[in-house]
């Protein structure tokens, strides 16, 4: 039998117990004219073997990253996913449970989420983190809304957004804010690729918050200490965004530089790219603001006998209690992805993560040098982590397409997002690339250039 265990005899016995002749009688409440009256046109039931074969063919109609050289990043990074991660995620106890409303039978999820929160706090340098958001873009939008709750009197002040915020994050913030009447102001960049602090200072008065990303969209590391110093005397909420979470192992975390909120994507931590989802959003803040945070929080408590245990807590912030007054509408979040990140981080350990981060950085630097030697200049001079922008001197879209044809995803052509950068390519380098792979890219680019 397929997925439904009822035998015909069961069905008959149940109908009899209910006191109806057939199942149709059970939807007497549905007015006849609203009934479908035909079969859904979705084809016949298929065996597992047939569906598997079809899906395999469809999967193979995609060119996967395990069979390409991937220099694409821009918010999604092709890192190694340790096999331990899917092996543990696939355990039914984790996979097929839901939101741990009933704590006593959900301590597995709850303790893991508590660990996740702790890990995010440690990595971001903040004080409190929630149990996940959908993705980095949504986390950023929610961070802006949280800023609004933190400054309830500032009903109209603009949101300052660094020009180097990931465009998809920017777009999501715009969608979330559009109806609010709140303005979004762009803070442009210095020629070196980092956010222009003078322009930032000029826009401070009355602003609700600043949203800046580091490493930024162009791969440049923002100078958090300098940014925080620039806004020191302002009341604005400082939102730091991180799209390459691995950088947090190497770079000074925004939380060590007086950020108020840190949000971003945790996809780098054991989560496959999967055409963009499911990824992992995280959001961290300060203890003082915890009641203004969106999303689930797991807290430590004890049972009657004093045994430590964990529960969902502070749920008066949430929609199921506070409804329209909730801090967010989020319900189902990205729990399993948060678990993936937790297992990933536990597997790497602090030193392992740092070593991996350094390795990513060094490989990227090496590629930069190789490219420079081949005549390709970096577009920006600010230091980077594992991603950087290169000036091709030719239409980047065309170049990228030609290299894609050769099995090399050379990077993201920036023209689609920034027309003025249409000759630039955003290149990411991870531990999945070897020295030879770097050389292959350089050679291919050089060839195309000629």
């Amino acid at each position: 039998m397929l997925f439904h265990p009822q035998s015909e005899a069961d069905i008959r016995a149940m109908l009899e117990a209910i006191g109806v002749k057939d199942i149709e009688e059970l939807w007497a409440q549905v007015p006849a004219r609203l009934r479908l009256g035909r079969d859904l046109e979705l084809g016949p039931p298929l065996s597992e073997a047939v569906v598997e074969r079809e899906m395999l063919a469809q999967a193979e109609a995609n060119r996967d990253l395990k069979h390409t050289l991937c220099f694409l990043g821009a918010g999604t990074y092709f890192h190694h996913v340790p096999n331990l991660v899917p092996a543990l995620l696939s355990r039914g106890e984790f996979l097929t449970a839901y939101t741990p409303y009933q704590a006593e039978v959900s301590q597995g999820t709850l303790q893991a989420m508590f660990e996740f929160q702790t890990l995010i706090v440690e990595l971001t340098g903040m004080e409190v983190a929630n149990a996940s958001m959908y993705d980095g873009a949504e986390a950023t939008a929610e961070a802006v809304l949280m800023a609004g709750r933190m400054r309830p009197k500032n009903t109209n002040g603009p949101v300052l957004v660094s020009q180097a915020l990931n465009p998809a994050y920017r777009a999501t913030v715009e969608t979330y804010l559009r109806h609010s009447g709140r303005e979004i102001k762009t803070i442009p960049l210095n020629p070196d690729g980092a956010t222009d602090l003078d322009r930032l200072r000029a826009e401070l008065p009355g602003a609700l918050c600043l949203v800046a990303q580091s490493p930024n969209f162009f791969g440049c590391i923002e100078d958090w200490p300098a940014i925080m110093a620039a806004v020191k005397d302002s009341d604005l909420v400082r939102i730091a965004v991180v799209t390459e979470a691995l950088s947090l192992a190497l770079l000074k975390p925004p939380g060590h530089c007086s950020a108020d909120i840190v949000g971003g994507s945790g996809q780098s931590f054991g989560i496959p790219p999967a055409l963009g989802g499911p990824h992992l959003g995280f959001l961290a803040g300060r203890d003082a603001d915890v009641r203004r945070m969106p999303g689930r929080l797991v807290g430590q408590t004890a049972d009657q006998e004093g045994r430590r245990g964990f529960v969902l807590t502070l749920s008066t912030r949430e929609q199921h209690i506070r409804r329209e007054k909730a801090t967010s509408n989020i319900c189902t979040n990205h729990g399993l992805m948060a678990l993936a990140a937790t297992i990933y981080l536990a597997r790497q350990g602090g030193h392992g993560l740092l070593r991996l981060a350094k390795q990513n950085h060094e490989l990227a630097e090496r590629l930069k040098q190789k490219l420079a030697a081949a005549g390709f200049k970096p577009r920006f001079s600010a230091p980077g982590f594992n991603e950087f922008t290169i000036e091709l001197g030719a239409d980047a879209q065309t170049v990228a397409e030609r290299l894609a044809g050769k099995g090399i995803l050379a990077g993201l052509p920036l023209g689609r997002f920034f027309p003025e950068l249409s000759t630039c390519l955003l290149i990411a380098v991870t531990e999945m690339l070897s020295e030879t792979d770097l050389d292959q890219l350089v050679a291919a680019l050089a060839e195309v250039k000629q």
């Binding site: 939807w27 079809e54 449970a97 702790t118 609010s180 929609q319 399993l336």
Partner: protein, 496 residues
Amino acid sequence: MNPPGKRTGLIWDEPLLFELHPDQAPEPTLGARVPSPARSAQSAQPSTIPSALLRETPPRIPDLSEPEVLRHYSRLSSWNYGVDQGFYPLGSCTMKHNPRLNEAVAALPGFAFIHPEQPADQVQGALRLMHELARALAEISGMDAVSLQPAAGAHGELCGMLMIRAYHQARGDARRKVLIPDTAHGTNPASSALAGYEVVEVPTGPDGLLHPDTVAEFMDESVAGLMLTNPNTLGLFESYIAEVAEAVHKKGGLVYGDGANLNALMGIARPGDMGIDVIQFNLHKTFSTPHGGGGPGAGPVGVKKHLEPYLPVPIITERQGRYDYDWDRPQSIGKVGQYYGNFGVMVRAGAYIRRLGGQGLAEASRLAILNANYLRVKLRDHFHLPHPDACLHECVFSDKGLPSEVTTLDLAKRLMDYGFHPPTIYFPLVVHGALMVEPTESESKETLDQFIEAMVQISREARENPDLLQSAPQRTPVGRLDEVRAARKPILRWQP
């Protein structure tokens, strides 16, 4: 029914990750550590980054070996209850079976390891899958167009409400309010508020249904629309849905249908045929994708023609067998998430729909309804049922008639001792001390009978030995946890 807890179980005394190796050792030595993925020289300090921008110490995460991590989370998992373990009748959540085929296909490198910025011609299989899933959802719901972008049900609601807003705005019609029945799920008002609307609660009738007259009363030109769930959270079909929608439409409003309960309707009736203008699907409920301890889900949103221009960008298009992203949609509300939605979840839902076909989906709904009604009838003599005569996929009991010293919470906790995950409790709010049971089609009559027996026994215990309920659960790794204490002085992270 086996009496709880004759034997004690091996319950691991598993510490927190951070307590496993309490003193962080210095960098581990050669042999014991993970070799670098690529052979790279190990330089001490990144040369190009100013030290002011570097972390001062590595993150404090213990350095563990693979067996330690594996064992830690294997043990933690054994403290968890999933659908794989037993009956999980969490109402409104459709905890149905999660076929393992879904997991296998979602893990295929051609689906799991493709980059969202790859050129469209390198991901034709993925785009086709999305396109076909959107079409299937349209067929199931009777809607005209579907975007797969929202990441969960609530996200779909927000997206839908933003489209309603955009629709009115495009016609220069600034409306402020959204009507929501008192039976609604919390995400409905929260999503409306997030979309900038004022929420007006509309009472349902004593029959648990929304009445056209009531709606008409509340309806005027300041109202952007009505948001309702059908079948509603009492498990009842909104019989007046067509008339209700008419009342809303008459005043220029739109109707948002919360599709979380679609598992009751597949192949039976379609929201799009009832006057609903926009709906979200919860793929993690109706379409068998796993709930993951709280996500990821996926909340595609379906609309009627007049709302199509407002769908989030991009839309997946098909032209002569070639699939592409369409970003050029000037009236779109924009993006609601970073990329195109939770693709991995879509793969699973797509496999499920192909596997069952139209017939199989209809059978799922039929059997979900049968199972719920069986529970309704078998339990209505033992627990108060505000609407005893009918339900679709779930039914809601109240605490009426329980001895006063016993709460719905006690009952739920006691169910754990019988080996069941408790139903949803205290929701919907319109039912006092609600106990909301949704068995889904995946459960056998045997399982339902065991649950019924446990419930009946508990109802007896509630009267004869209430302490058994109040001191429950006894068989779980921890006893009843103090939620008040957790909230009063929140401990939200581990500290050394």
